[in-house]
């Protein structure tokens, strides 16, 4: 009993420590400008002034749109590559399977900072600065994890199902489309969510490749606006809330799927 209570108390402390800043941002973002530094935990009188400020006086909506396009684009691209790689490995059992998986594993462990400079140079040479191409394409370097996850899922599909479709006369692409992908749907959902959140939270890369306020993502944009004589602290806090909400919403609805994605794949 005592051990359990101590454990619960510890967990509670951690939760509070984690949630308090978020809570304070939320509360403060709802205060009117003259109450911004109030220490009351209840935002009263309440005001949506900061949100209106953030959304309409600065290019926040453009940044949001950019972020959505980048996150969706990178997710679609990464998944397309990962599905292709994982399927090829399982369906054709090439001799270099081990090497490919090792490479994918290595890609997971390379810190993204180590890739920043070569990626930046390459993207600049291609004229991709301040463009969606620049935001999206280099993120493909992060598709190691989706490859590993999807391969585990694919390998769990009985080989006889794929063989049955081959004997039934299916071409490789038809086996993929008609048999494999429908069976992979839960895995695809989980992996997409994972990649989407990772990309959504990307900060360093957009800061470098898209330094222009109306071309960048919201993560980099907040920093950009904070540096300039721009919005008030209140508006920045409101913008931070707007940035966080989609991720929070996804976690709230899909946390079970995400944990399952890792548990069922055998990768932890």
């Amino acid at each position: 009993m005592a051990v359990a209570s101590a454990w619960h108390a510890g967990v509670l402390i951690v939760i509070v420590a984690l949630l308090f800043p978020l809570f304070w941002v939320a509360v403060t973002s709802l205060r009117p400008a003259n109450e911004l530094y109030s220490t009351s935990p209840i935002p009263w009188p309440m005001s949506t002034e900061n949100y209106r400020d953030a959304l309409f006086r600065f290019p926040l909506r453009m940044m949001l749109l950019n972020t959505v396009i980048m996150a969706v684009g990178a997710t679609v691209l990464q998944l397309a590559v990962a599905i292709g790689a994982a399927y090829a490995v399982v369906r054709f059992r090439p001799r270099w399977t081990g090497a490919l998986l090792l490479l994918a594993g290595a890609a997971v462990f390379i810190p993204p900072q180590a890739l920043i400079i070569p990626q930046f140079l390459a993207a600049t040479h291609l004229g991709w600065r301040n463009s969606y191409l620049g935001l999206i394409v280099p993120q493909l370097a992060a598709c190691g994890l989706p490859i590993l996850l999807l391969r585990e899922y694919l390998a769990a599909i009985p080989a006889s199902l794929i063989e049955a479709s081959i004997v039934d006369g299916a071409r490789p692409a038809q086996t993929l489309r008609l048999v494999v992908l429908p069976l992979l749907r839960p895995a695809l959902a989980a992996v997409s969510i994972l990649v989407f959140i990772n990309t959504w939270n990307e900060y360093l890369w957009p800061t470098l490749i898209a330094p222009q306020a109306n071309r960048t993502t919201i993560q980099a944009g907040l920093q950009l606006l904070g540096n300039q004589e721009g919005p008030t602290s209140g508006a920045l806090l409101a913008a931070a809330m707007i940035t966080t909400l989609p991720v929070l919403a996804i976690y709230a609805f899909a946390s079970r799927r995400i944990t399952n994605a890792f548990l069922q794949s055998g990768i932890k």
């Binding site: 009985p158 006889s160 199902l161 063989e163 049955a164 479709s165 081959i166 004997v167 039934d168 006369g169 299916a170 071409r171 038809q174 008609l178 048999v179 429908p182 069976l183």
Partner: protein, 385 residues
């Protein structure tokens, strides 16, 4: 020889009990001329240092129900998968209906397959599972492919034939094991390929479903008139299903023949021991006259003893055959019969006799085996003499 298991049913159950097809059967007209003859020449395959197949020549006649049988790891599944095109032989050729298909893909060989786990597409209904191959054919060849209505009709007919008429809209997970097996059969048969390959199709069924499923397979073979090639490790299943049985061991052919041939005249010790339950007794020849020249082994089936007696005189015969003596070590009661496992100076042997005959452990037993039921084998090579 002491690995006596419970005797299974006699060699050909169900052949006289074949259930009549439930409805008039439009699929009977499926294959006009019987085709699907398979020839294998010098086919070799190994996995690392394990030999999976080394077959100088094997012919599977068109229209036969050929059963590949052998202990696990004997290469029978590999052989089936090579015929299907799911494995490539290292050497040799495979011909189907006179065409060299050694390098052809599985979809272009004229074969259909029923997998051991049935491999039904879990996300498709029964109707879509069965129609999958035909739908693909239609997509690939719009000119000669079937229309959607024709596919639907053939799927419906085949499912009716297999008693799945009311299950068309179900998903595989909503079906029983027997129903899944029949869906797998329907999916393979609906394409009217000359060769149907079956990889242990009965092993995933409950024991009670197996006997009717065997009868159903025999009936289907008669009705669709193609070549069936079935893999099993169960010798009783091989004898009851096959019109031809291929016994394999460690990647090599041991014997090919009709079930009667391989039962009556096993070509070697391996086949003799592999068939039958309890297995054939194998004992060194004890007659003084034979001890001089060569070492020989003598075999007889436990059910072939014509007389069993505790001590009294055995019936006199023109050809006396041979008398075996021993002490009962284990006595089994198997319903209509008893099986006694006996020990003597030369080894162990078993005998089957009517259940009414009493027998007790420790009792001395003498049996008479007629000469025509004795099999002679070379002790060195194992070959039948």
């Amino acid at each position: 020889m002491t690995n006596a298991v419970r005797p299974s049913e006699p060699a050909a159950p169900g052949r006289t009990l074949i259930p009549a097809p439930a409805r008039a059967n439009p699929a009977t007209t499926a294959v006009a001329a019987v085709s699907g003859g398979i020839k294998l020449r010098s086919v070799r395959k190994s996995y690392g240092s394990t030999l999976a197949a080394d077959l100088p020549a094997l012919d599977i006649p068109a229209g036969s129900f050929t059963v590949l049988v052998g202990p696990s790891g004997c290469g029978k599944s590999t052989l089936l998968r090579m015929i299907a095109g799911l494995e490539t032989p290292e050497a040799g050729q495979i011909h189907i209906d006179g065409r060299d298909v050694t390098t052809a893909g599985p979809g272009e060989r004229g074969v259909a397959i029923v997998f051991q786990d049935f491999a039904l597409y879990p996300h498709m209904t029964v109707a879509r599972n069965v129609g999958f191959g035909l739908t693909l054919e239609a997509k690939h060849d719009r000119r000669n492919g079937l229309s959607r209505a024709e596919i639907q009709r053939r799927v419906g007919d085949m499912c009716d034939l297999l008693g799945l008429g009311d299950k068309l809209a179900r998903k595989p997970r909503e079906l029983s094991g027997g129903e899944r097996q029949r869906v797998a059969l329907a999916r393979a048969l609906v394409r009217r390929k000359p060769v149907l390959l079956l990889d242990e199709p009965l092993s995933n069924l409950d024991a009670g479903r197996r006997a009717p499923a065997r009868a159903e397979l025999i009936r289907l073979h008669r009705e669709v008139a193609g070549t069936f090639v079935l893999v099993t490790h169960d010798q009783a299943e091989a004898l009851s299903l096959g019109t031809r049985v291929v016994v394999l061991n460690a990647g090599r052919l041991e014997q090919v023949g009709t079930p009667e041939e391989i039962w009556r005249r096993p070509a070697n010790l391996f086949v003799a021991r592999f068939l039958g339950s309890p297995a054939m007794n194998i004992l060194p020849v004890s007659r003084e006259a034979d001890s001089g020249d060569q070492r020989r082994l003598q075999g007889w089936r436990p059910a072939d003893a014509v007389a069993v007696d505790a001590a009294g005189p055995l019936p006199a015969r023109d050809d006396p055959g041979q008398v075996f003596e021993g002490v009962v070590d284990v006595a089994e009661f198997v319903g209509d019969r008893r099986v006694a496992h006996c020990v003597n100076d030369h080894g162990t042997w078993s005998v089957e006799f009517p259940a009414a005959t009493p027998v007790t452990v420790g009792q001395r037993l003498r049996v008479l085996v007629p000469a025509e039921s004795l099999h002679q084998f070379d002790a060195q090579t194992g070959v039948r003499l």
